[in-house]
């Protein structure tokens, strides 16, 4: 597929443009608000609220006979809100833990929604309310007016987020301290949760129930890997969300049987994976590399100091020692040969015979420096007697 054609399509193809825009809006708002959800350990709330919204949507339709996005969003919002209230009530007043309450509210609300939906579908004048759409979103069928609604609601949510930024930061980090300052933390909690539900509800149209939970978690989890500052994390999360949204829309439009919702989610998941592996500082790959590097350095130093120790027992510092002895002295047999090779390259050791190695004068100096750094005196030779499985002195061990 031609890049030019793709970009062309992005700007001039009405459907693709609308879908991409909608997905981007969704990505931004769920990324931003999802950051707070993840930090407050409410990651699965997104999943629960998405499912719980179903009865709200159906009831809104039943009562108003309108499928205007705003109406349905309102219904979803109220249902999500009620679900959250019930959830809090269960967790606070009984011994049921959060996971159980989440699963309960999620499935019961959804089941109830299903009853309403199938009941509605039997009604003579109800057109297909389309469960498919609710489950998987109908990103491909987004209309411009839908995207406009999404954008307006998102702007509202993000504005509130910005306005109450420091209050929300306080709420998420140290709720009690905030209360001691006089801020009504309970109300702020409700407000922030409502914004989250709003974000979820906005996205339901595009990616549907199941996948909305990912959009609240993935961009934020990815962003966390790259920064330690809340503001940067939220912005980054929004960007990741938008990126996932747009790429999902674009890939999907290539018409190879990739429906938009799942593709967006996979794009977001890929971003998370890359972040976890490669992000500066925390990334797993860098960790592994760092670990390997320090291990190798430690080995080098050990071989160096072991040679020094051996040498200090002989009056002749240039006396060679076999590699087998060195291996016996190391914690790990492997890698001694490689360390020796590196040390030779640096001019710190030299081969003085068949498999015999000795320190050069630079090597002696270097070894002493390491010993000093480590903070102890070179071991007295008597120690070696007690420790050794190595052959006395040296004499050509096989390599």
């Amino acid at each position: 597929m031609d890049l030019i054609a793709l970009l062309n399509g992005l700007f001039f193809d009405y459907t693709l443009r609308t879908v991409a825009l909608g997905a981007a809006v969704l990505g931004i708002v769920s990324g931003a608000l999802g950051s707070f959800a993840v930090l407050r350990k409410q990651s699965l709330l997104g999943d629960a609220m998405s499912h719980a919204a179903l009865p709200g949507v159906v009831l809104a339709f039943l009562l108003t006979r309108s499928k205007a996005p705003l109406v349905l969003v309102l219904g979803a919002l109220i249902a999500g809100w009620l679900a959250t209230l019930w959830l809090m009530s269960i967790v606070n007043r009984t011994r049921i833990k959060e996971d159980g309450a989440l699963a309960l509210v999620l499935s019961v609300f959804f089941g109830f929604g299903l009853v309403l939906l199938t009941y509605t579908q039997r009604l003579p004048d109800a057109r297909q309310a389309g469960l498919d759409q609710f489950l998987f979103g109908q990103a491909a069928a987004l209309l411009q007016r839908d995207v406009v609604t999404m954008a307006i609601l998102s702007t509202l949510a993000l504005t509130l987020l910005a306005v109450f930024w420091k209050e929300f930061k306080l709420l998420s980090f140290d709720r009690e301290f905030g209360a001691s300052l006089g801020f009504p933390m309970g109300l702020l909690d409700i407000l922030l949760t409502t914004l989250l539900v709003l974000a979820i509800v906005i996205g339901l149209q595009a990616v549907g129930v199941v996948l909305m939970s990912a959009m609240v978690v993935a961009p934020a989890a990815a962003a966390r890997q790259w920064t330690d500052r809340l503001g940067v994390m939220v912005v980054l999360s929004a960007i990741f969300g938008a990126a996932a949204g747009v790429s999902g829309a674009v890939i999907s439009s290539l018409g190879q049987g990739f429906s938009t919702g799942p593709t967006v989610v996979l794009a977001a998941s890929a971003i998370v994976l890359i972040s976890i592996l490669f992000a500066s500082n925390r990334g797993l790959v860098w960790n592994w590399v760092r670990h390997q590097r320090s291990r190798r350095r430690l080995q080098l130093e050990n071989v160096l100091t072991n040679l020094h120790l051996l040498a200090s027992q002989h009056t002749d510092a240039t006396h060679g020692h076999s590699i087998e002895v060195l291996r016996a002295m190391s914690a790990r047999r492997g890698g001694v040969a490689r360390s020796l090779a590196v040390l030779k390259e640096r001019g710190l050791v030299e081969k003085v015979g068949d498999n015999l190695w000795a320190l050069t004068s630079e090597g002696i100096a270097a070894a002493q420096k390491v010993i000093q750094e480590r903070g102890f005196e070179p071991l007295p030779s008597s120690i070696l007697d007690g420790q050794s499985r190595a052959p006395e002195g040296d004499g050509g061990g096989a390599e």
Partner: protein
């Protein structure tokens, strides 16, 4: 009742019970949301299994599902171990990704085959009787019944067999490990059972509602008892009730049977939530009310005891003073005093309150444990 209706109810019953059993342990182990995760990711197992054997009714699909269930749990554990992601976030990352892969595989490669995603998620038990199980050409009932029945038997026997291990590893994993019960193995075993159950039930109630049947009845039971066997029994009972009442509700409304089952399970929970003795909201409110009065009376006598014999006693022991000092509303203070009088803890003398001997006793006892 028609033959079909009987069969449907039977299937619903068996499904609900098969779900309630492992569900109880999920709830106790705080892994309820894992069931939600697995219920979505089994789709991947089904799809992959389908690609391999090209037969929707093959038992290999169940095997594939079990594998994916374990895979889900493993991936979540792996993610958590990196410490870069918190526990709940790990779950929220893994299952949508796996689910999306499944959906894309379906829409891309299996479009021509009837692997309807709706059906996986929602199921339709009403059609179950149409799918007959006919070994050797004799129709002995709907296939769904036999599949779920087998799963029920499997779950039941595994629980009976490993009851001890399950119990200990749920409440004290450390102890279980020292006793050699390999809690890790039990954990994955349980997750496999859950996966198998989910797949078995998916075309009856759909995987999302399996969650309702796995979680709601045990949670209701949990509010009613501390006793594990009783909790299991109650879970089964509530599951069965949800199944049957759900069926009749659906018949009444002409709506989704699975949805009705979940709704009834939720209703049962709501009732228990409100009215459970001891742990229900109503009982708690009543208890709080009783305590409020008892508490206030105790505070009264302790307050009196504290100031007894001291110069300000005269002032402190006046009834009017209670209003300021203890921050009690006059009406409230009056009632407390009256109740304390009824208990014979205090008596009124010239507008002042004095402790009786029993009152003083109580106040003293309250001060020392």
């Amino acid at each position: 009742m028609s033959g079909f209706q009987i069969e449907i109810q039977l299937i619903a019953l068996v499904t609900a019970i098969a779900c309630a059993l492992p569900g109880a342990f999920l709830v106790l182990r705080r892994m309820a949301m894992m069931s939600d995760a697995i219920s979505h990711t089994v789709l991947l197992g089904i799809v992959v299994g389908f690609f391999v054997v090209e037969d929707l009714s093959s038992p290999w699909l169940i095997f594939g599902a079990a594998v994916v269930g374990v895979l889900t749990v493993s991936l979540v554990a792996l993610l958590q171990r990196t410490r870069l992601v918190k526990e709940d976030a790990a779950i929220g990352l893994v299952f949508p990704a796996l689910f999306s892969i499944a959906v894309i595989l379906i829409t891309r490669y299996a479009g021509s085959v009837h692997l309807d995603i709706d059906a996986v998620l929602i199921g339709e038990i009403a059609f179950a009787p149409f799918d007959r199980f006919a070994p050797f050409g004799t129709d002995i009932g709907p296939r769904g019944l036999y599949v779920m029945g087998a799963i029920l038997l499997l779950n039941l026997s595994l629980i009976l067999l490993f009851y001890k291990e399950l119990k200990i590893s749920t409440f004290d994993p450390g102890l279980a490990a020292t006793l050699g019960f390999a809690p890790g193995l039990i954990h994955y075993g349980l997750m496999s059972v859950v996966s198998v159950t989910v797949v078995g039930a998916f075309d009856i109630v759909g995987s999302i509602l399996v969650v309702a049947l796995m979680v709601a009845p045990p949670i209701s039971a949990y509010l009613l008892t501390d006793h594990l066997p009783r909790m299991l029994g109650l879970s089964v009972l509530f599951g069965a009730l949800s199944a049957l009442s759900g069926f009749w509700l659906a018949t009444l409304l002409d709506a989704s049977i699975a949805g009705s089952m979940a709704s009834m399970a939720g209703l049962i929970f709501a009732v228990v939530f409100l009215f459970a003795p001891d742990r229900g909201l109503v009982a708690a409110a009543r208890r709080r009310e009783r305590q409020r009065w008892y508490f206030a009376q105790s505070m009264l006598v302790i307050h009196l005891l504290n100031h007894e014999g001291l110069p300000e006693a005269d002032r402190e022991n006046r009834i009017e003073h209670l209003h300021d000092h203890l921050r009690w509303h006059p009406g409230f203070a009056d009632r407390v005093v009256r109740k304390a009088e009824e208990r014979n803890w205090v008596i009124r003398l010239n507008g002042r309150l004095a402790l009786t001997q029993p009152g003083r006793e109580h106040a003293r006892q309250a001060i020392i444990r």
